[in-house]
């Protein structure tokens, strides 16, 4: 009589659990400060605990000033990124950390009497006709958590809205996300409109339907594979790197 799945003792001829093989040892983050209050801020970020960050930030702003608080928040976030890179953290831990970070950041900025200088300005959107926005949202959270100003235009955004937002905000970088073959043509249109208006900046495009081949077929386009790379793109663009150089760095053009 034929056996059932319950009778199989060893599944390795059918599949191999590589995830178990490569699972990292759980570990915590490094301390970022010897000061207990600052370390509490960093730990709150690492743990994604808004309450802890909120309390510790209040105390530290008074004791150390808002600039130190901001540095500490960023240092905490750096530890989070390391844990993610090593597979100890998954994305939700990173998002929760970035939520917590934003709580602290808002307070510190208020204490400074306005927005702190951001590392650069990024306009983000999903293509006209496209409502797939989760990839964009993740990228936005990560870029924001790395100290950039994000202008999120949302999804199903008309081309001229994007162009206007770029000009109005003097953006260093614009990003587009599309998950449908029939919406991504909006990117080429935006690129043309920008050219006509004499605006030139890197236009990082990603999303399931979008291919490197397509994105590199119009001017300014730089293809993004994963949301994780968002902060890297923002940093390059803000530092003044041209779209041509960014394309050469990030894309493997054939």
């Amino acid at each position: 009589m034929a056996r059932t799945v319950a009778d199989i003792a060893d599944f390795t001829p059918i599949f191999v659990r590589y995830d178990v093989k490569i699972a990292p040892k759980k570990r915590g983050a490094e301390d970022v400060s010897a000061d207990p209050v600052l370390q509490a801020i960093a730990r709150g970020v690492v743990d994604g605990d808004e309450d802890v960050v909120s309390d510790a930030t209040d105390k530290a702003i008074a004791a150390k000033g808002p600039e130190t608080v901001i540095d500490t928040l960023i240092a905490g976030m750096r530890e989070v990124s390391k844990l993610w890179d090593d597979g100890v953290y998954f994305l939700p831990q990173v998002i929760l950390s970035s939520d917590a970070l934003m709580v602290g950041l808002t307070k510190a900025e208020d204490a400074m009497g306005g927005k702190a200088t951001k590392k650069g300005t990024v306009v983000m959107h999903c293509a006209h006709g496209d409502i797939h926005d989760i990839g964009k949202n993740i990228a936005a959270a990560l870029i924001r958590a790395n100290g950039f100003l994000v202008i999120d235009l949302g999804s199903d955004v008309p081309e001229d809205t994007v162009v206007k937002a770029i000009k109005d905000n003097k953006a260093h970088l614009v990003t587009g996300t599309a998950l449908m073959t029939t919406t991504m043509s909006a990117f080429a249109k935006i690129s043309d409109m920008l050219k006509k208006e004499g605006v030139e900046l890197p236009f990082v495009c990603g999303g399931g339907a979008v291919s490197e081949e397509y994105v590199t077929s119009y001017d300014m386009g730089v293809y993004a594979d994963v949301a994780k790379d968002g902060p890297g793109f923002a940093a390059d663009a803000s530092s003044g790197m041209s779209w041509q150089d960014m394309r050469a760095k990030w894309n493997l053009v054939v």
Partner: protein, 457 residues
């Protein structure tokens, strides 16, 4: 409408591909689903640029349709279901959609007249109501959708389906934070309520046009979680968490059938084995042949109890063997030929069990969709009939228990922690829907764009 209170099968072992307790006949021939036969379902997508004008898009659909039908005849496939998942430009322009459907139906009739090839056409209207942007019950987008259901039904569609969007705003917020409470609220409560409201309209349109109300899928939520979970090397979301989200999907997608849908279900509803266990409707599923559309960890096991076998979606383009539509029609056709051969040989259960063994322990998603487990989850759902919330919660708890209890299912430390954490949070949730909803309405106020009146609150 009453809710399901019992199972369609006495035992999971009675479930098998190609047979359903409540068969459905659709289209030209007709295609009989659930009567000891599995049919292929091809879903083609137009190329970028083809949406530019009505003439171009009609040509594109004409070619894709001809490719699919032609390949069936070349290789001897007995029948084919074609699904057009509307692109934005179709649902927002119901007269385009109508023209596309009328043209395809004409081609299908020609192939039937010339060769005897059976076929049927599914209209899946795009749900353009992005809940954080438009009101679910009063908006231009809703009007377009209803007009497109109507125009494609009149134009030749045999089945009306949708991937409805309710609860997506809350779900998206919650899933990114691994928050099971928000997932239950978004899928189990909000999406179910939206479906109850929307499906009465879809069923009425189908009845009026004398065609079939098909089904709905938790794609917008269940599949988002599943894609985020990804393969063994992904670190976007724990697989155990995605499996718990899928349990809610089953409690939620059931609503379509409670409102009068009869199947075939939507292909991308991975919760369908649970739905079939409860309702007995014929289900459409996608697996190995939908590798063109997305990657997944349960490509064989999902065929165990399928009635209509789909590729999810393939973009039209050239491959060595012809167009991608021809290629995937061919793959689907041979996949179902294997299943139908097993039926004719009397070894269908052997084939089913082989496909189960392939993936039951590869990943938790395949594990919970394994017919035995799917059946148990279904039982948990029908045991809580008085509340969308409670049946979703019951599904989640049962799924967590099944995962935790099976010794063959190996979990990494991170996966097990995610499971335990979610389980603990669910245990602490209120015992009745009212309390739960009050709690969630207050907590998820913070979600940008969340508007309780979209759901009748």
């Amino acid at each position: 409408m009453p809710k399901y209170t019992s199972m369609a099968y006495k035992s999971w072992d009675d479930m098998i591909f190609g047979t359903a307790p409540h068969p459905v006949s659709i289209g030209i021939g007709p295609i009989e689903l659930g009567k000891k036969h599995v049919y292929p379902q091809i879903v083609p997508h137009p190329r970028p640029g083809s949406e530019a004008t009505k003439e171009k898009i009609l040509r594109e659909y004409q070619r894709m349709t001809d490719d699919a039908l032609g390949r069936c005849v070349a290789l001897g496939f007995p029948g084919l279901v074609i699904e057009f998942e509307h692109i934005y430009q179709m649902t927002s322009q119901p007269e385009w959609a109508a023209a596309i459907f009328t043209q395809a139906k004409g081609q299908m009739q020609d192939y039937y007249d010339k060769y005897g090839l059976k076929s049927a056409l599914v209209s899946t209207v795009a749900d353009l109501r992005k809940p954080d942007m438009v009101h679910m019950r009063h908006s231009q987008e809703l009007d377009w959708m209803l007009a497109s259901f109507e125009s494609t039904a009149a134009g030749g569609a045999d089945v009306l389906s949708i991937e409805s969007m309710g609860g997506k705003e809350v779900f998206d917020y919650a899933v990114q934070r691994q928050d099971i409470k928000g997932v239950i609220f978004g899928i189990g409560v909000l999406s179910s309520r939206d479906m109850e409201w929307l499906w009465q309209k879809i069923v009425a349109t189908a009845k009026k046009n004398n065609i079939t109300p098909g089904g709905d899928t938790d794609c917008a939520r269940g599949n988002t979680a599943m894609f985020l979970a990804g393969g063994y090397t992904a670190t976007d979301l724990p697989h155990t968490f995605a499996a718990l989200a899928r349990a809610c999907s089953a409690a939620r997608s059931l609503v379509a059938y409670e409102q009068g849908a009869t199947g075939p279900s939507k292909d991308c509803a991975y919760e369908d084995p649970i739905i079939k266990a409860i309702t007995g409707v014929p289900i459409s599923m996608e697996g190995v042949a939908s590798a063109c559309a997305h990657s997944e960890m349960q490509s064989n096991i999902v065929s165990a109890v399928v009635d209509l076998w789909s590729n999810e979606a393939v973009e039209y383009h050239d491959m060595f063997a012809g167009s991608s539509v021809e290629v995937f029609t061919e793959i689907l056709g041979y996949n179902v030929a294997q299943m139908n051969a097993a039926i004719e040989l009397g070894t269908a259960k052997e084939l089913r069990d082989i496909n189960i063994a392939s993936d039951k322990y590869r990943d938790v998603h395949g594990f919970m969709l394994s017919p035995d487990n799917a059946y148990e989850i279904g039982k948990a759902i029908v045991s809580k009939v008085d509340s969308y919330y409670l049946r979703s919660k019951a599904a989640v708890l049962k799924t967590a228990d099944l995962i935790a209890a099976d010794k063959k299912l190996v979990l990494t430390e991170h996966e097990r922690e995610a499971l335990d954490k979610a389980r603990k949070e669910v245990d602490q949730l209120p015992d009745n829907e009212g309390d739960f909803v009050d709690m969630c309405l207050s907590e998820y106020k913070k979600v940008p764009g969340f508007d309780p009146t979209s759901y009748g609150y």
